[in-house]
Structure formats: structure tokens, C-alpha cells
């Protein structure tokens, strides 16, 4: 595996055989989330397919990856951000930093609609939200120009009580 960091974006090359193995070994996949997230934006279709399959099957991320996920959430975009939101939504007892990062994604003006909706979906699963998060999500539910995001935010807001 080859990895380096350039301009803050993690770039990694993962071989297909490993991705295929991780797709059927959720526990192992959980330890390689950095590689999997990097792989979903590969130019090779098979790499993207198997990385997506691994991320779909890997379940909740291990605790040692939570800080990394929270840190990358608002820095990434596209499919990487979508999957980071999905991973965050699987955490049962998330930390505040994760919540703040998700609210930032949901409210971001440059964020793809699918990712903002997924961030709301993740927040909806949290047992409770801070007042500031609730206000931000309610604001989205009231004012977002996207009907899908308005609905996702409203659902999240209702769930947060």
C-alpha cells in the first residue's frame, strides 16, 4: 500500500484484492477506513465499487477512528464526505466534535445535497443534540432551498425533540 499526504488530502493506493477481502471482513475493513475512504474517489471503477461495498458492509467504525472521521467530515467532499457521514451515523454514542462536524456539513453552502441529507440522517440517529445543533438543523428545515434537505432536517429536528 502506498500512501502520502498532499495539500491536506489523503491519497492512497489500495490493491483490489485487499478491497475484495475487506468487503467480506467487516472487522478488518473497520481498521482500514482511511484507505477505504480514499479509494471511493479512485479513477478505477472496480476500486470504487469494492471500496463502496466494504464501507456498506463494515458497520460502526471502531472508536480509534472517531477523531479522524470528525476531522475529515467537513474537509472532504463528494463520495468521501458521503461515506464519512454514513460512518458517523453508525456511531451509537458520538462525541461533540462529530456532531459539530455533521452540522457543518448539513449547513454547508458548497456541500452536495446528497451529503447534506446524509449528514442530517446521521444526526437523526444521535441520542441527543446540543441546543446549537438543534437550532441550526431547525433553521435548515425552515429555509433550505432543497426540498429533500428541508425534509431530512425536519425529520432530524423532530427526532431531536
Amino acid at each position: 500500500m502506498d500512501s502520502r499526504t498532499a495539500k491536506g488530502i489523503v491519497w492512497m493506493k489500495v490493491d483490489l484484492e485487499k478491497l475484495q477481502r475487506w468487503a467480506n471482513d467487516p472487522e478488518e475493513a473497520g481498521h482500514h477506513l482511511e484507505e477505504l475512504i480514499a479509494a471511493v474517489s479512485s479513477e478505477e471503477e472496480e476500486v470504487v465499487s469494492w471500496a463502496s461495498e466494504s464501507l456498506e458492509n463494515c458497520g460502526p467504525p471502531p472508536k480509534e477512528k472517531w477523531t479522524w472521521i470528525a476531522d475529515r467530515l467537513s474537509k472532504e467532499s463528494g463520495d468521501r464526505q458521503y461515506w464519512l457521514c454514513t460512518l458517523a451515523g453508525r456511531i451509537e454514542e458520538p462525541e461533540e466534535a462529530m456532531e459539530r462536524a455533521l452540522v457543518e456539513v448539513a449547513s454547508g453552502e458548497q456541500v452536495a445535497e446528497a451529503n447534506a441529507v446524509r449528514a442530517c440522517w446521521a444526526l437523526e440517529r444521535f441520542p441527543r443534540l446540543a441546543d446549537s445543533s438543534r437550532l441550526a438543523i431547525q433553521h435548515l428545515a425552515d429555509t433550505s432551498p432543497s426540498p429533500g434537505l428541508r425534509q431530512a432536517a425536519a425529520k432530524c429536528s423532530a427526532s431531536a425533540g
Partner: protein, 355 residues
Amino acid sequence: MKGIALIDRRLIHPFAAALLATWIGLALGVWGYRVTGEQSDRTRTQPIAIQPIANPTTLLPARTQQTILVASFNIQAFGQSKVENPWVLERLAAVIRQFDVVAIQEVRSKDTATLPRLLQAINQTGVQYQYLIGPRLGRTSSQEQYAYVYDSSRIIASPQATYTVLDGKPTGSTTQEVGIAGQPDLLHREPFVARFVVKTLPQPFRFTMANVHTDPDEVKSEMDVLSNVWNGVRAFERLQASEDDLLMVGDFNADPPRFGKLGQIAGIQPTISGIPTNVRGTSLYDNIMHDAAATKEYTGRAGVFSLVQYFGLSVEDALKLSDHHPIWAEYSAFEAPAPGAPQTIASDPYGSTVR
């Protein structure tokens, strides 16, 4: 349903679909995809002798002219690497040849030759399978397609009567899409629907299949939406084709106790229960469902076609084919009378019908 007239997409009137959309909260569109069993030169592979360990008859009922076998198979991330691996491709082909119609999930390839290459492998033995394939679906760049592969010597499919449930994402690109503008995206991969008829006389079994693959992260909400899809497609099929037999098949990522509102629909019957459908043997994800009152053609036989048993593989090797086993259900090749319809049980010499 009488006659063999299959619906033309022009007959799926936008008004009728929009009416249903209002009712079910989803819009039904007709993204028809015409597909044939054409094969290209690049799809040629060398025949490989596969020697299954288990005789199919130990895993499946004997195939007869009186019945058909309908299957569902999630071929995990089916794309270039599987198509180009003869060991995998030939085994997938051998599996599909066991059934009359197979609903496939997880075709993941932009290469339009992917499914034709599988078809060529299937037809290498002289059988005549064809396929229907839906649009690429999904919220990320890794999108999936549903497909149906069927034995054209036994089954007729109408490409003009296939459509994808349109889930609030109208592109506005064609007049055949009738989505509700602004309707939120409720399903990750909208079901792909197709209508089939068995080539038999005098009263062939006709049925509609809805191919499903839920998002494992959104099973609960998608199951509730699928109950609307069930009701909507059923009403649409009754209206457009007088068709009452709907089989909802695929990878639900849930066992029947977790079917939510879908499982609460009166009469709905999952044919697979109490047995794992994944290769690791831990979970029941896949099912074939129908309305027990309407689909009297179901013989009561259904099951899991174990890749491990059929090929005598280790779990690790079976996972090279897929993380799911195919599942199957058996139906009569002949149409049963619709519930409540007059049934002729005897005739008197004067020609009057005794009910």
C-alpha cells in the same frame, strides 16, 4: 389476465401514473431498457468444465414443464473483475442456468458489455437466456443496476413493460418520466419492475416482478416506503395489465420480522424464513414475496441455493462468487384463477357451468 398482449410503454399514460404517484407518495416512471441476448466478440471465454458436487435436484425441485423456478441473486459488486475471472464467471453462469428467471442485484459496471458477457457464459451450453437491465442507481458515483436474466425458451418478457419506480428525482429529460418535482429521494435504489409470462398453454402464469436492494443503513425507513411501492405497483399493474401476481424479490437486508410496514400488508408472504441467505451463514437478507391469496401459483416450495454445497466450495472460495446465496421459489407454469373469480369445476351436458 387474458391474451398475451403485453403492455406497450405508450399505454402507460402519464395521468394514470401521476394519479398513483399522488396516492403512494412516489411516482412511477417508465425507464424502459431494451436488451437482448446479443453477444460481442470480446465476451468470448473458454468453456470450463464445472463439476458441481451436489446434484441440483438435491438443492432444488426437479424442473418440469408444470412449474417454473424464480430466483433472486445478489452478485456482490458484479463488474469487470468477476466477468474477467473465468473461474467466477462460469460458476455464476452455472448457477443461473438452474432457474427460469433470476432477479439480479448489484451489477456495478459502466461497461455495457458486463451483462452480455455473463449471458454468453450462460448460453455456452446451448440454452437461450436473455436479460433486461435497469438504469444505474445510487447516491454516490458507485451506482448499481438491477437485472433480470430469464430462459427465453420458457419465459417471455416484455422490455416495453419494464420500468423503474421513480422516486422523486425526475430528470425532465423525457415525457416518459412522470415524477413529482421536489419529492424527496426516499429510496437509495428504486425498484426495477418487469412483467413476465410463461410459454405454456392453455393458461400461462403471468406475473410482475419488482427487484429490490435496500440500503443497509436505512432498512427501517425503506421498508416502510416499500409498502407504498408494493401497493402502488400492484395497483398500477392491475390498471395497466389486469395483473394481480406481484413478486417483490431481492436483497432486503432484513429478515421477515424486520419488514415493518411491508410485512404488515395483508396477505403478503415471504417465501424464505428461518434460514440464512448470506454465504457466511449468519443472516437472512434475501427474499421472494407475494400475496398468498392472489398468487395461488406458488407451490409452497422455496429455499436457499447454497453455493458452498452446489460447488463443494469453502466459504472463502464461495465468497469469490458472492456474499449472498441465490434464493428461489417455485410457481406453477399455469395461471390459477383470480381470487373470487368464477371457477369452472364441472360442466353439464347442456353447456351450463356449475360453480
